[in-house]
Amino acid sequence: MILRGRKVVGGYAEGEALVSKDPVSFYGGVDPETGVITEPGHAVCGESIKGKVFIFPKGKGSTVGSYVIYRMKKLGTAPAAIINVETESIIATGCVISGVPLIDKLDYDQIKALKTGMRLRVDADKGLVEIL
């Protein structure tokens, strides 16, 4: 099954899906050393996003979050790709400066089809997500 969205940052990645229903703050909400979500009460608190295709509605919190994505990429703890429902400037900026592929605006039914644990192939240049 192939889903179609909007390319924000190009690139190619394959990985296991991790789906969060909550928005994510990379500054203060994620441990950049390990890639684990640390925000108390968060939908995927305790889960690692390292190497995953990380699916969440949008970013939130401080714009410093963009630098945290960059740091995670350098440390090897960043997600392989990000899929947002509708992205905003913190996540978009973070993905551009660190080269993490980013797609958004898959339609609502399609994004509901994505489940944690699925294996996904992301061709962000074409805005495509394939469930393998």
Binding site: V64, S66, Y67, Y70, R71, T87, S89, A92, V96, I97
Partner: protein, 396 residues
């Protein structure tokens, strides 16, 4: 998004990797927000300077941009750093932090960004014209540029303001367009506004009520520059406000009068301001009094000097300002008067971006809701009151 032939070449790397990276960011954000094209900007004010917020990651990114040859092509000023670049040792800033901070400033200087290290570039010579497009980060300066000066900027971040500095361009969307500058709610101010702290409280209450909706204030009276800067700073702290209009006060308010029909109205009274003050005040026993969020104007430093001249302080008072204003205050003798009383006047930094916990601070008293909120977020005991009251309390 439409790009000119020249912009296409910049994106393709013909003007170097630094420009190409900057273009990549501006174009991606332009696409995200549905911008039709890029627009020329006249100045940039770059945030993300304190090593406390940047950490090694941000520092490495800045050094990488500098090494890729990114250079400012328009006037670019810099937000406060985490320490006074000259007197950090005296402030109690750890050596390791200072080393990181020095590298951050060096990277910005290599890119041609002026190390103004202030959140009030408009008080030290970077004053955008009404209607001009600029790329400013730093939420309080964004509010001042958009609202008080009538210039046009979005809520830029460190990377986007730097990308604008390097290209002279920004994607054309949101507050850069007429249709998005109209007010969304009318705020009827019934509260008595005398001290700048009252304006700060009003901004804080408004941000909480309106989120990021553009307010149209009625009943602001005749606010001073000091009141205008603290009002916007507070609006942007408790909400996401980037632009406000004030009847009889701000340059675009008059033409917005025809756009008020049908807008929801909210009223802010004395009780709302009192409640806000109570909320950000807890019991403190020995706070450091911090004046200067946003950075002090000459008038604010004169007021502190006038209150402490010839007296002795029982508690520490730290005044934060820009290098430009500090130089004027020194000539006037204000700095010496404050220092002789036992206080300090520091430049390049403030209580919001300095590593206060590592400096051993536990409690602060501030004359700004923005300062109070950030210090409370750092876990410090916080008291908020007018500058006059706080300075009097600190005297022996």
């Amino acid at each position: 998004m439409y790009l000119t032939a020249e912009e296409e070449r910049m994106l393709a790397g013909e003007r170097g990797a630094g420009v190409a990276k900057a273009m990549e960011l501006l174009v991606a954000l332009g696409e995200v927000f549905g911008a039709e094209r890029l627009v020329r900007v006249e100045s940039a004010h770059v945030s993300g300077v304190s090593y406390k917020n940047l950490g090694e990651a941000g520092l490495e990114w800045l050094e990488e941009q500098a090494s890729l040859g990114a250079r400012a092509v328009i006037r670019a000023t810099l937000n406060p750093a985490g320490m006074d670049m000259g007197r950090w040792r005296e402030m109690g800033v750890p050596e390791e932090f200072a080393e990181g901070q020095r590298r951050v400033i060096a990277a910005f200087e290599a890119m041609g960004v002026e190390p103004t290290c202030t959140c009030t570039p408009y008080l030290v010579g970077s004053v955008p014209r009404q209607g001009s497009q600029v790329s400013w980060a730093e939420s309080s300066a964004i509010c001042y540029a958009n609202s008080v000066l009538g210039a046009r900027t979005n809520r830029e971040s460190g990377p986007t303001s730097l990308a604008s500095a390097v290209t002279g361009l920004a994607p054309l969307y949101e507050y850069r367009l007429d249709e998005n500058r109209v007010p969304g709610k009318v705020v009827e101010v019934e509260a008595r506004l005398s001290d700048p702290l009252d304006y700060s409280a009003l901004g804080f209450v408004t941000g909480k009520l309106l989120g990021s909706t553009v307010p149209y204030f009625r009943g602001l009276g005749r606010p001073s520059i000091e009141s205008l800067k603290t009002l916007g700073a507070a609006c942007a702290t408790s909400g996401g406000i980037a632009l406000w209009h004030g009847e009889g006060v701000t340059p675009e308010a008059e033409k917005m009068r025809q756009r008020l029909a049908g807008l929801e109205r909210v009223t802010v009274g004395d009780r709302d301001l009192e409640e806000a003050k109570k909320k950000l005040t807890c019991e403190v026993s020995d706070p450091v009094t911090c004046i200067g969020c946003p950075h002090c104007s000459l008038k604010e430093i004169a007021e502190v000097a006038g209150l402490v001249r010839g007296k002795e302080l029982g508690r520490r008072i730290w005044v934060f300002t820009s290098r430009g204003v500090h130089a004027q205050a020194e000539r006037k003798g204000y700095v010496r008067q404050i220092e002789e009383a036992g206080g300090g006047v520091y430049v390049d930094t403030c209580m919001v971006v300095a590593p206060l916990r590592e400096m051993g601070w536990r409690e602060v008293a501030v004359n700004s809701f923005k300062g109070a909120q950030y210090c409370a977020n750092m876990g410090l005991g916080t008291r908020v009151a007018s500058a006059e009251r706080l300075v009097k309390e600190a005297l022996r």
